[in-house]
């Protein structure tokens, strides 16, 4: 939402520069409200005319500014002082040859350059201003990604800097067909949002759709990719994520090669990828780096974990309160013995434990690292031995909660495990009221919902529903690279590139 009175102020800054430095500076200082990180350095440019260098402290590399830019502007004398040549032109071509420079005429442009980390040079009697790229600020270097970690594979992750991020992708795909488009979103934050795709692989229709959806965004701020994700996703009323995100350049590069589009937002290390399919959220980079057999088996394990995380507590409720006859006799007796002293019905017991776990999980993310140890110790006691010995819950319930918790971390994408967390509680309610019938109905409802979802026009459940035979190769299965000879078929492209490895094999 635009802030009140903002439009008015914006109008003011649309004014052009005047020839007077004093006036311009007064205006800038007034607009910025005397903010003290604004540095204004007045000097005699080339020892002939008065000029001012303006920059924001902390956004520019002061070393560079002092040593090369300011020095050359001060010391050098004009080689030929022919007045007919435009001074700004002359400075750009002859004096500031090392830096990236440009001119502007409005106050608005001045500010956008100023906040991008450029130094602004205003010269007396010139209606044009000059910006000099001297951006440089403290930032996190490229480190190992915190999420999506792998055993084998590249260990570098995206940073908060959009340029670093695009460079990391370009380093992996050295092809002129890798195109990048940028725009500024956020009426206050002016955040740079870029999207990358491989021309000829990405569906033109999807690219066009993305453009219109990005244009439609009317927000005052974009501080993370999540803002964009919610604005461009197809369905809002769903727990399932329809936009993929990753902190790993290799994952994003792989997505681009599959014809997807990457959306990079300045200020966040998480890059978005569209269109996103259900199966994608169960794929981990490891699957492709390790041999294909284990890739397939681990994927099967993840789907199993998905169902465990979704169903374990509700199945426990259904079996112990409705369908005691379905469990083996010795197991039911053992569970009955554990439940002897438990004062709550199974549903309340399960709800309590799941809530306790959710609280612990939330706490362990927020808690300062120094006292994290204490919380985990207390936490294990709460949902562990102590709770059982106190007779508040049964040991079987602790097992169920643990397996649920562990299983939910097997799903590689956090977005999907969030969906599972939400639906788990829904299914627990259904199990408590209708038993297995309720669980079955709930699963059917989830399935129907999933099949109606779309991500940028691509059915969410493809390649299963609709069934796309060639795409099964990289769904629950991970075929060997030699068998992966076609691009995913969910989008129509002119070019059906054969896989690099496959081609190499055929040649030999």
């Amino acid at each position: 939402m635009p802030i009140k009175g903002e439009d008015e102020r914006m109008k003011q800054s649309n004014d052009n520069l005047t020839g007077s430095i004093i006036d311009n500076i007064a205006k800038i200082v007034q607009e910025l409200g005397n903010s003290d990180d604004l540095i204004i350095k007045k000097f005699r440019c080339l020892q002939t005319c008065s000029a001012a260098l303006i920059f924001i402290d902390g956004l520019v590399d002061s070393q560079l500014l002092h040593n090369s830019i300011l020095e050359s502007l001060l010391v050098k004398e004009p080689a030929d002082s022919s007045p007919h040549q435009d001074l700004t032109e002359y400075l750009q071509q002859n004096i500031l040859v090392a830096a990236h420079t440009g001119t502007f005429t409005t106050i608005k442009d001045l500010f956008s350059r100023l906040f991008a980390g450029n130094a602004i040079l205003l010269i007396e009697n010139e209606s044009k201003g000059l910006w000099i790229d001297a951006a440089g600020w403290e930032q996190r270097s490229v480190t190992e990604p915190q999420s999506h970690s792998v055993v084998r594979g590249p260990m570098e992750g995206f940073t908060e800097n959009i340029r670093t991020n695009t460079a990391m992708i370009r380093r992996r795909i050295r092809d002129p067909r890798l195109w990048i488009e940028s725009k500024e979103i956020g009426t206050v934050t002016h955040t740079t949002v870029s999207f990358m795709y491989i021309k000829g692989l990405a569906d033109e229709g999807v690219v066009e759709e993305l453009r219109t959806r990005l244009d439609r965004i009317n927000m005052d701020s974009v501080l993370e990719g999540g803002y964009i994700e919610e604005e461009i996703q197809d369905a809002i009323k769903t727990p399932f994520p329809t936009v993929y995100n990753s902190e790993r350049p290799d994952t994003i590069a792989a997505g681009l090669l599959e014809g997807r589009i990457a959306i990079i937002v300045n200020g966040t290390p998480f890059v978005l990828l569209i269109p996103a399919l259900f199966v994608q959220f169960f794929q981990s980079p490891d699957d492709y780096f390790e041999r294909s057999l284990i890739g397939t088996l681990v994927r099967l394990l993840r789907y199993m974990a998905f169902f465990l995380a979704l169903l374990a507590p509700s199945l426990y409720i259904a079996f112990t309160t409705f369908h005691q006859e379905l469990l083996p006799t010795s197991l039911i007796i053992s569970i009955a013995a554990q439940r002897e002293a438990v004062p709550f019905p199974a549903f309340i017991e399960a709800l309590l434990m799941e809530l306790t776990y959710e609280i612990l999980r939330e706490a362990s993310i927020r808690i300062p690292k120094t006292i994290g140890q204490a919380v985990s110790i207390v936490g294990t006691l709460v949902i562990g031995q102590a709770a059982v010995q106190a007779g508040a819950v049964s040991a079987a319930m602790v097992i169920v909660v643990s397996i649920t918790a562990i299983s939910s971390y097997v799903i590689p994408e956090n977005g999907m495990s969030i969906a599972v967390r939400i639906l788990r509680f829904l299914l627990m309610f259904l199990a408590a009221s209708f038993g297995l019938l309720g669980i079955w109905l709930g699963l059917m409802a989830i399935l129907i919902h999933l099949t109606t979802l779309k991500s940028f026009g691509v059915p969410y459940m493809s390649p299963f529903g609709p069934y796309i035979a060639p795409d099964i190769k990289d769904s629950i299965f991970r075929f060997p690279w030699t068998k992966m000879t076609t691009r995913p078929a969910y989008h129509a492209t002119e070019e059906q590139l054969e896989h690099r490895n496959a081609r190499r094999q055929r040649r030999s």
Partner: protein, 403 residues
Amino acid sequence: MTSKIFLTAISILLMFTLGGCWDRKELNELGIAVAIGVDTAPKNQFKVTAQVVVPSEVAAGQSSKGGTSVTVYEEVAPTMMEAIQKMTEISPRKVYLGHIRMFVIGEALARKGIASVVETLVREPTVRADFYVAVAKEGAASDILQVTTPLEPIPANKMYASLTVSSEAWAPTTKVTVDELMKTLMNSGCPVLPGIQAVENKSDSDKGNSKDNIASTIPVMDLKFNGLGVFKKDRLIGWLNENESKGYNYIQNQIKESMEHVDTDKGVRIGIRTFDSKTDVKGSVVRGNPVIRIHVKSRGAIEEIHGKSQALDSTQSLHWLEQQDNKHVTELMQMAVHSAQHTYKADIFGFGELIHESDPKAWKKLKPNWDQTFPEVKVYYLTQVKLRKVGMLLDTFQQKMKE
């Protein structure tokens, strides 16, 4: 829009009250019955005995309070289910029948007919149809269910397990699940059921139903499967002894493993383990007369030799032993068939069914008089035992011992 959401919410909430929880029962509100016994009672009533687990005494890791692991409830009522419901007068929990492992029928009731009591349990929806049925030989079912057992804390589990194990490793018992029993009865066959007895080992039998019972190595009372009860339709008419029971199991192809022995004419006794036994029974009608052919194929392993003069080093001697074993197995089957045909006149082997399958037309004629025809049925036996193993020794070292 708002009203639509409101209506949906209301209807979902109403749904919970409609379907909601009517058959919900928490585990600690249930008395899990593991065995049910039925006996006759005066005035045409049933005496129903339920063996109910005391979970806290059974489960691992729970501190036992020193009580028995099961408790037994007994009620007399005009119908079985009435008796079971009536147990709530004594029991704090409703008796839950979903996990019955054993169904024991008193001999007196078995002689009156078992069809109706079997049906009662099959009709009950929570009951799994895979529990075993046994007859309390020469006694009442309630006496059987009261006996505590060592090794398996739950007596019903002990009965279930020892019936499974003994029918697999020692042939004279046979496990009959309730659905098999019902199938046999429906096909107007004559079922057999294993007999179970509470055997007293020591004189102080009054300790048999207390925990003191398992305080010694030999319990005061043991539960023992003994013989097979022969039924004519659904009424118990008599018992097969051990050898006949074994023969019955050979014919029914229910032998997985067993031990036989052969006494040779030289006074040597040889113990042979039978394994991989397979029986093929075929019925046919030859000139209007029903004929049954039984073909047993099995393998044997020599396990014991008591005596010196038996040589094992030649194929002839092994062949000779095979012949002896064949003869022995055939005799077992003959005993069973003889007993069924002449003592009880009950077609416990399902020969009628076999004839029906092979020659439906002839069966139509035979069926009305099958009870009379059955004792006259000719039975041919072919037994082929192959001795495959002689163990870790070849000839017995008893020969080499110096006198």
